[in-house]
Amino acid sequence: MSYFSDIYQGIKTLLTGMSVTGKYFVNSRKGAITQQYPDNRDTLKMFERFRGEVIMPHTEDNEHRCTGCQKCEIACPNGTIEIIWDRGIDEETGKKKKKIDQFVYHLSMCTMCGLCIDVCPTDAIKWGQNFENSVYDRSALTRVLNKPGSKLMAGVED
């Protein structure tokens, strides 16, 4: 008689399901995964792999790691990165050396594909966590990533 065992199994599995959702219901206060965004702005921390925008970290001495090799500019599929470079005199050796003048980043064109960050040999650019990028004028989205007066960190090219 599978008829009665079917009824038994049916009720049992239904109750199993209800106990699972019931546990979630009881624990929902502790485990709510909704972030109430504008309220928690001060404490909001995006997760590590979040792709907000491309940034160039600078040290306290205003030094960055970009050698101006332009690999990111070549890798970028839609011309988001534009490196304006210059030849300067290396202070130690006295030779002429390539260095960046402006690392121009057009956020309005960026698709966050990450190819530039993958290809960078010196880890000069990274993913930033900021995502509040709405502005009234789109020219504000064209950014120069290297800070004024910054220079290449010593030893990066070696």
Partner: protein, 353 residues
């Protein structure tokens, strides 16, 4: 026949001013207005409750912006729907199309009249109360069928036909499970059924068959109100919005409200028949009859929550599974259950406290 017992004071005050016939008409109108207002608002809060409970089941927070903890959210939604344009399809059967929402909402509100909220708060205490409830609850499906048919839309049509299949099938179980309890009480009048339960709630008095009847009633009641897991009438992922695909604005809101009022009605019937209605557990507050409303609403809300729990746990059934469940399982179980209950009552095996 109509016993308006809600307030003696208003009755006396009114009869001081006008003739007997005018008084009863005014009272009926007053009570109709009170019920309409209370249940329009109660329906809105049930929608809010559903949304919050759903959110908690899914580890979300739910609407909590409009008013304290989102209490005014559904009010705002209703006001928004009032301002919306009432659209319609070309070649729709305009008369039936406009009539359908009223069928649904009026049948839902009519059923509320016989539900006893407390001893003195019972608008329409007829001696065939349960029969009236079963009859009225099956009128709503006509509105759904009309709405689906007259919309001139395939999805609405399929939804309406599914609703017909579903309601006709599950009506049997609702009726039979209530009749199982009528076997014990020997009366269809809801106030007498509650009086009878002063010796213990019917689910205790009838023990095993009563529990079976309660389970069958909750399952088929959920199906009657077209809620998940029996929401093939709407079935968002299959039919758009089902029978009310073509409705907008306040007509859509009527369908929506009717669904929630029906859920309240099914829970209220279950609370009245199985759990003693407005009687307090073990008669702890028998000296304070005003608390009857509280006990009634508390029991009803627990059952409403149970139906919400079903909704957010079980996946939707297929049509053939739905019919198999009714005709192969619930109906035979129910018939056997009635016989069992009859034997129990005949041999005096019920538990009377």
């Amino acid at each position: 026949m109509i016993q308006l017992r809600i307030t003696e004071h208003i009755h006396n005050w009114l009869s001081g001013m006008m003739s007997e016939g005018a008084v009863s008409i005014v009272e009926m109108v007053l009570i109709a207005i009170v019920y309409l207002t209370v249940f329009a608002i109660a329906g809105l809060f049930l929608v809010l409750l559903e949304r919050r409970v759903a959110a908690w089941f899914q580890l979300r927070i739910g609407p909590n912006r409009v008013g304290f903890q989102g209490l005014l959210q559904t009010m705002a939604d209703a006001i928004k729907l009032l301002t919306k344009e009432l659209t319609g399809t070309e070649k729709a059967d305009k008369f039936l199309y406009n009539l359908a929402p009223y069928f649904v909402i009026i049948s839902a509100l009519m059923a509320l009249a016989v539900i006893p909220f407390t001893k003195e708060f019972h608008a329409f205490d007829i001696n065939i109360g349960i029969f009236f409830l079963i009859a009225i609850s099956s009128i709503g499906v006509i509105g759904i069928l009309l709405g689906g048919w007259s919309s001139n839309n395939k999805f609405a049509m399929i939804g309406a036909m599914r609703s017909g299949v579903q309601t006709i099938s599950y009506e049997l179980s609702v009726g039979l499970s209530l009749l199982t309890m009528v076997v014990i009480t020997g009366t269809l009048q809801l106030s007498e059924i509650i009086e009878f339960q002063k010796n213990g709630w019917l689910i205790v008095q009838g023990h095993i068959p009563a529990i079976i009847a309660f389970m069958v009633f909750m399952i088929s009641g959920t199906a009657e109100t077209n809620r998940a897991p029996f929401d093939m009438v709407e079935a968002e992922s299959e039919l758009g919005a089902g029978f009310h695909t073509e409705y907008s604005g306040m007509k859509f809101a009527y369908f929506f409200l009717a669904e929630f009022i029906n859920m309240f009605i099914i829970s209220a019937i279950a609370a009245t028949i199985f759990f003693g209605g407005w009687l307090s557990p073990f008669g702890i507050t028998e000296s304070i009859p005003e608390l009857g409303v509280f006990w009634f609403l508390a029991k009803t809300m627990v059952l409403v929550f149970l139906m919400m729990w079903f909704r957010w746990t079980f996946p939707r059934l297929r049509v053939d599974q739905l019919l198999t469940l009714e005709w192969k399982y619930l109906l035979p179980i129910n018939l056997v259950n009635i016989v069992l209950m009859a034997v129990l009552v005949w041999l005096n095996l019920t538990i009377r406290l």
